[in-house]
């Protein structure tokens, strides 16, 4: 019997047969924390008897969730993390470098790697063919100390996507639709494995968008096979030698198979307060909004900004709507400046935030007021997510977000582009 991508990676790394349902212990290629989960991880790590850092070069701290720091307590947390990096020699990425998941994609993740992070959207690196999953602070503290952890080998859902996307419809619309199909717990503990000709044609950043949201259906990983697109991305990031071809076996066993036709998809929106509460944009057209947020580990990459810029070019935001743009990394920001996207956003009346998580999790930089409505390109719209349980969040693609910023209401990008 053949193997799924998850069985292959966990089998190779653990030196066991690794079949769905098995529990294995496997070495980890990268373990990381961010600034809101890192301090607890550091404290837990210090409680591990005889704990020294197993692999400083494979241990990373990203300051991204609350940068520049909005208050004294978080500043002190940042200090604690900087001191830990100094003491242990682990890697640290200062505030403004970018969102952890984007930096993991740009600098670390390779096909066949095992990556664990104290952040649920660690699944993003599945777009590069890594077995990447989120864990809590205790688990990551132990990986810091031992360089390995235990995994239950997940059963896999095969998600086959064929056909050609319509113009202004893309990865975000696809993954929102998929989560609507699966439900918020439809893939709990499972691996999502993607395949089909639409996947083969998907750019690497689009794959990262889809993998990023696997956890919103409860999945442990969302993983793509590697191919020439993966190879080219790694080469462009200076890691061409890290490429390896990774495909599931033809006779691998899947718990469930789901087939989607990309050509039938249209712009989608997740409505408050659940990510699987999904409808086509046209059903919600006219819904008034107060704020548009373009960015995050889901949709803060260069081609996301390109889509938004194409719609906003030479136009102004609706005066009743605040427009916030936060590129996902310094690399994205630099390129967006060179190409001119940032100037387009500024001309359109946007506030440009530093690379980081920004308004996504309600700490700062765009907290919503009572009864306000935000249209965001993020991955979560839970009650209270953006700092106020009396506010509402809709999730959509960068194109839909940009179109809606022009009109002041939820708008199909095909109507204004």
């Amino acid at each position: 019997m053949g193997k799924t991508l998850s069985e292959k990676i966990l089998g190779d790394k653990s030196g066991t047969d690794a079949r769905a349902g098995d529990i294995v212990i496997a070495p980890v290629d990268l373990a990381f924390v961010q600034d809101t989960t890192g301090p607890l991880t550091v404290r837990q790590f210090k409680e591990v008897k005889h704990g020294i850092l197993a692999n400083p070069q494979r241990t990373a701290i990203f300051l991204d969730h609350a940068i520049p720091s909005p208050n004294r307590q978080l500043s002190n947390d940042h200090q604690l993390l900087r001191r830990f990096a100094e003491e242990t020699g682990c890697q640290i990425f200062e505030g403004g470098s970018g969102i952890c998941h984007q930096l993991v994609a740009e600098k670390f993740a390779n096909p066949g790697d095992i990556i664990v992070g104290a952040d649920s959207h660690t699944v993003t690196a599945g777009g590069l063919g890594a077995f990447a999953t989120g864990m809590g602070s205790s688990d990551i503290a132990v990986v810091f100390a031992l360089g390995k952890t235990w995994f239950r080998v997940p059963e896999t859902f095969k998600i086959s996507i064929n056909g050609k996307f319509q113009k202004w419809v893309g990865a975000k619309d696809l993954v929102l639709h998929l989560i609507g199909v699966l439900g918020a717990d439809g893939a709990t503990y499972k691996a999502l494995e993607f395949d089909g000709n639409a996947v083969a044609n998907m750019t690497l950043p689009q794959r990262l968008t889809v993998a990023n949201m696997a956890v919103e259906a409860g999945a442990k990983v969302g993983i793509f096979p590697s191919d020439n697109i993966t190879r080219r991305y790694l080469a462009a990031q200076g890691r061409g030698s890290k490429y390896q071809a990774l495909q599931p076996d033809a006779d691998a066993e899947y718990e469930r198979a789901i087939a989607l036709d990309a050509s039938e998809l249209e712009p989608m929106v997740a409505m408050p307060h659940a990510v699987n509460n999904v409808n086509p944009v046209k059903m919600l057209a006219g819904t008034k909004i107060d704020q548009v947020f373009i960015g995050t580990c889901t949709n803060g990459r260069l081609e996301d900004l390109a889509a938004a810029a194409a719609i906003l070019k030479g136009k102004k935001r609706n005066p009743m709507v605040r427009l916030i743009v936060a590129p996902a990394s310094q690399q994205v920001l630099s390129k967006a400046m060179r190409i001119g996207y940032i100037q387009i956003f500024v001309n359109a009346g946007a506030v440009i935030l530093p690379p980081g998580c920004a308004a996504c999790l309600g700490v700062h930089q765009g907290v919503l007021g009572d009864n306000e409505v935000c249209l965001s390109t993020a991955n979560r719209n839970f009650k209270g997510r953006m700092g106020n349980p009396e506010a509402s969040i809709y999730l959509a693609s960068p194109a839909t977000a940009a179109a809606s910023a022009l009109t002041g209401e939820i708008t199909d990008p095909r109507e204004v582009a």
């Binding site: 529990i23 660690t122 205790s138 688990d139 235990w150 918020a184 309600g362 839970f382």
Partner: protein
């Protein structure tokens, strides 16, 4: 190790209680001040919970409890509130690991059979849940051995400190 027999009242919650309901991201500034953070436990699901919960009580939830963030603080503040175990129809993956790693049992059972405020007794070694108010008995799903071992040591950090490594 958690006591083999747990006893308390049921605090009922619905499906899809997220980590933002349990402890919102807006309190990130309090994550290094756990007693202060714990004052906000379950705030966006039931603002009165923190004042009503007593040591030994249970959170009794529907499907997919703890979905969302990896923040282990969610499991931590529930434990700090004195909750002795979480009973749910199903639980999100990361939260499940986090709760066990904090020594907080998560038991999967048919929580529709338990009423709000019911007096509950859980026997961990016998895998039974008794609703003393309704005089009914439920069973809960098996927990993987590695998690039982971690739970028995009171959490992952004490487990690794004692054993030095994972033992499957």
């Amino acid at each position: 190790m958690p006591d083999a027999v747990l006893r308390g009242r049921a605090f009922k919650f619905g499906d899809n209680i997220s980590t933002d309901h349990i402890i919102p991201g807006k309190y990130a500034n309090l994550r290094s001040d756990l007693p202060e953070l714990a004052k906000h436990v379950m705030e966006d699901a039931d603002p009165t919970f923190v004042d009503k919960v007593k040591p030994g009580d249970f959170i009794v939830a529907g499907k997919n409890f703890g979905l969302g963030s990896s923040r282990e603080h969610a499991a931590l503040v529930i434990k700090m509130a004195g909750v002795s175990a979480i009973l749910a129809k199903s639980v999100a993956r990361i939260f499940f690991r986090n709760a066990i790693n904090q020594g907080l049992p998560v038991l999967i059972c048919d929580t529709d059979k338990i009423g709000a405020g019911d007096e509950i007794e859980v026997n961990l070694s016998e895998s039974s849940i008794i609703d003393l108010t309704k005089n009914t008995k439920l069973t809960f799903g098996k927990i993987p051995k590695v998690m039982v071992d971690i739970l028995n040591e009171g959490g992952l950090i004490p487990y690794i400190s004692k054993h030095g490594d994972f033992e499957l």
